[in-house]
């Protein structure tokens, strides 16, 4: 276990290194010139060169990357070109909100998705099953922007149950989590139904029934752990998918997470921020996958860590 963890951590560090290298290279190759954006429209070529030099952007790629890495080791992600603030500070100030949203969204997904999937599998072939599956597809196919605005309109504007966006209390968290969760819930519901159907006809479920266990015990204790394996694998994946949707959801609900930061940075080629956000999300994804891999053998003891 410890050896495995150690190896995985080293591998994870390598992955992060890889991500940083590729991202850095891609940004280096990007034709949009950040210096031009910094220097403004009225700048003379000389000023532009001057700024380029100051930022070290005139150096060869290898030198630039090495410099970035050495600073990275001491936790310095550089300064934003456009905002001129420390990237670390920008990210740190927004990370808690994004993490909170992610936790909220995962909870929503699991609650909605797994229960939908479970019910559908147990009631396989019935109208309930079909309704739930259509619902899950609606969840997956609906554009998040529209879902978010609809929820906001109904529950915040019309019913005033929740605030119209913002950040602070748990009531602020509900609608954005739900918006993000609905997409994932659709996935989870489908996956859950599929693997649950598979599991429910296994012999050991028959054994459990023969023991006269309550339906809940059969489903939750015997079937669920067997069926949930593919779902666990989604922990890491989820984080990746979140990074896609987080921009939209955050801006609909005025949620101060890193999605908006990233989006603005991409639009303006603010390289230090792009790098920083990329590394942070890569870290989260790698961690999520590692977690999923570590959890898997606890759920299915036949899987060995290796």
């Amino acid at each position: 276990m410890i050896a495995y963890l150690g190896r995985r951590l080293i591998q994870s560090a390598l992955i992060l290194l890889g991500v940083s290298l590729i991202t850095f290279a891609l940004l280096y190759l990007l034709p949009a010139d950040p210096v031009r954006q910094i220097a403004g429209r009225s700048a003379t070529p000389q000023t532009v060169e001057n700024i380029r030099q100051q930022l070290g952007l005139d150096q060869p790629f290898v030198v630039q990357y090495w410099r970035y890495l050495t600073k990275l080791v001491s936790g310095d992600l550089g300064r934003s070109y456009i905002q001129r603030s420390e990237v670390t500070e920008l990210i740190v100030s927004r990370l808690p909100a994004s993490l909170l949203l992610m936790v909220g969204a995962i909870l929503c997904e699991l609650l909605i998705g797994l229960s939908m999937g479970l019910i559908a599998a147990v009631k396989r072939g019935t109208a309930t099953d079909q309704t739930l599956m259509v619902a899950s597809f609606v969840g997956v196919s609906a554009p998040q922007f529209v879902v978010g605005l609809l929820l906001l309109y109904v529950f915040a504007v019309r019913l005033s149950w929740f605030p119209i966006g913002g950040y602070g209390t748990w009531r602020h968290l509900v609608l954005p989590s739900l918006t993000m969760g609905i997409l994932g819930a659709g996935w989870y519901a489908r996956m859950m139904r599929s693997s649950m159907i598979d599991v429910l006809r296994q012999d050991y479920v028959r054994t459990a029934r023969a023991k006269g266990l309550a339906r809940g015990a059969i489903i939750f204790r015997h079937a669920l752990p067997n069926a949930i394996l593919p779902v666990i694998a989604m922990i890491g994946i989820d984080i990746g998918i979140f990074m896609g949707g987080i921009v939209v959801v955050e801006s609909v609900f005025g949620w101060p997470g890193i999605g908006q930061l990233a989006w603005q940075a991409i639009q303006r080629v603010d390289i230090p921020i792009i790098m920083g956000v990329t590394l942070v999300s890569a870290f989260a994804i790698v961690l999520g996958n590692l977690l999923a891999d570590i959890i898997a053998p606890f759920i299915d003891p036949r899987i060995k860590l290796r």
Binding site: S42, I51, R79, R84, G254, W255
Partner: protein, 522 residues
């Protein structure tokens, strides 16, 4: 003083919203339309404009003198003006601020505005730390010597980049000064929670007695304009400063109650199509003229719900030197076709039209595309992120045509020269420059320089006439097809008071925070 609205009420708090987070509040760096007027409320310059107008007036300066040759400006500073930290502002601070903004280490995007000050080149090259042309005569007098006469200099003394900053605070915060701004302005920064809100509170020591009117402005950032509007409709906020989102425009304008709270005004903006004059077939003036005649501007304005007026020249109507008499190119498809045929393209040609990817720009680009198709020009659209379009425009072989929307020129100050240099002059027609037509007319450059050397305010009409001629000549060469001048529609809550022109202030974009007030305080 005279600029204060006699009906204005003191006190009250307002909430304004922006979609994007504010990048920086450092006057030497901030160059977004969003932080532009925020900085104006935190800092002051030697000059300013009458609220809601484009009329220059002295601000931190009490008065100024211009030497007859137009090369020396002497400003007398106001006494007793205090920075937010309590220290009095003096001529040293003015000099320091200008040294700072021109110093390449500051990486100010506005440094180029000060190019006419003596010693600028040395500072820009890093050879000097200080502008030799700026001298502190006494604590309340500062003298500027220019290397050439510059008619726009008073405007330059009014733009944010020249605003006065206290040295000790700048040195204290270093690169983070933009997050901890300290100026002499009407408001001071009380709170900045990244990604959530910025709070301005009234500066009790503001030298301009009676201003500002409101005690506190909270800027909430990070929310969709649509949602901001919903919040306005629910009475949660006062000013959705991203404006009325297109999707909601009809809804708002068809409701008399809401429409009454919308203020419409012009802005110093032109939306245009650039044609790369160095690239075939746009190197042929006939082709460019044909394009000018092919565009159905009325239809395009219809597509954006009539939120603009058709343009026929680079300058917007509210700009001095705008030529009302100028006819421009008519919308005439037959003529356009004929011109194309004359140019040797009777069947048209294939080309590309670049545009920014945010609504409504791709839609406008498609309308343009259809208009071009009508005369046989088959333009494929490249809708890209802002930075990529800018990159393509700055590359000589990059983009045949660009629709400027979303990145188009909003003037830094209300002077005709501001529409020329970087975007139509030879100086901008360099790799990475902003002259996306790559139009370089040495004659016009000379004429522009000549016009800008007319410093005497009494001769400004003559100067404006010269500029009108320059733009007319440009239109004859047709490197651009001007399409429209955008109108601004600012919506506010019912409790907001103040003259309408404060809400569409041409200089304080989007609004003038110092002079607005709320009606529901006693």
């Amino acid at each position: 003083e005279d600029t204060i609205d006699p009906n204005a009420k003191q006190g009250g708090e307002i909430i304004a919203t922006y979609k994007d987070d504010v990048t920086t509040l450092d006057p030497a760096i901030g160059y977004d339309w969003q932080n532009w007027s925020m900085i104006k409320s935190l800092f002051d310059g030697l000059m300013d404009y009458e609220p809601g107008t484009t009329k220059l007036k002295p601000d931190l300066a009490e008065s100024y003198e211009i030497s007859p040759d137009g090369k020396t400006f002497t400003f007398k500073l106001r006494h007793g003006v205090k920075f937010h930290n309590g220290r009095e502002m003096t001529a040293d601070d003015v000099k320091y601020s200008l040294d700072r903004v021109t110093n390449p280490k500051t990486q100010s995007p506005g440094a180029g505005f000060f190019g006419s000050i003596k010693g600028y080149d040395d500072v820009a090259a890093g050879k000097a730390q200080s502008l030799s042309g700026v001298t502190v005569v006494d604590p309340y007098t500062v003298k500027f010597e220019l290397s050439r006469p510059d008619a726009t200099f008073l405007h330059v003394m009014a733009i944010n980049f020249s605003h006065v900053v206290p040295k000790e605070e700048v040195e204290k915060y270093g690169a983070d000064f933009g997050k901890h701004p300290v100026g002499t302005g009407a408001f001071k920064l009380a709170e900045w929670t990244l990604g959530q809100r910025i709070v301005f509170v009234r500066n009790p020591d503001y030298w301009h007695k009676g201003l500002p009117h409101v005690d506190k402005i909270t800027f909430e950032v990070g929310q969709e304009p649509i949602v901001a509007l919903l919040r306005l409709q629910k009475g949660e906020i006062d000013l959705p400063l991203d404006g009325i989102p297109p999707a909601k425009f009809q809804e708002v304008m068809s409701d008399p109650e809401q429409k009454a709270r919308v203020v419409e005004g012009g802005q110093l903006h032109t939306g245009y199509i650039t044609m790369n004059t160095t690239m075939a077939p746009f190197d042929n003036v006939k082709v460019r003229q044909a394009v000018n005649m092919a565009i159905n501007k009325a239809r395009i304005i219809q597509i954006i719900n009539g939120r603009a007026v058709p343009a026929n020249q680079p300058l917007p109507p509210s700009m001095p030197a705008y030529d009302k008499a100028f006819a421009g190119y008519p919308y005439d498809v037959a003529k356009a076709k004929a011109l194309l045929a004359e140019a040797g393209h009777p069947d048209g040609f294939d080309t590309q039209l670049f545009a920014m990817n945010t609504d409504p720009n791709p839609r406008i680009a498609q309308a343009i595309q259809q208009d071009l198709a009508a005369i046989g020009i088959k333009a494929s659209i490249q809708a890209l992120a802002q930075a990529n379009v800018i990159a393509a425009g700055g590359d000589k072989a990059g983009a045949p045509m660009i629709w400027s929307g979303g990145m188009g020129w909003i003037a830094d100050f209300p002077d005709p020269s501001n529409f020329y240099g970087p975007i139509l002059g030879c100086a901008g027609a360099v790799p990475g420059g902003w002259n996306w037509s790559w139009y370089c007319n040495k004659d016009l450059d000379a004429k522009a320089a000549e016009a800008d050397s007319i410093v005497d305010p009494a001769k400004s009409e003559q100067r404006y006439k010269m500029w009108s001629d320059i733009y007319a000549k440009i239109m004859a060469d047709a490197p651009w097809a001007p399409v429209f001048n955008e109108q601004r529609f600012t919506m506010k809550s019912a409790r907001m008071g103040g003259a309408d022109n404060l809400y569409v202030d041409p200089v304080h974009v989007p609004i003038n925070y110092d002079n607005v007030y709320v009606k529901d305080v006693q």
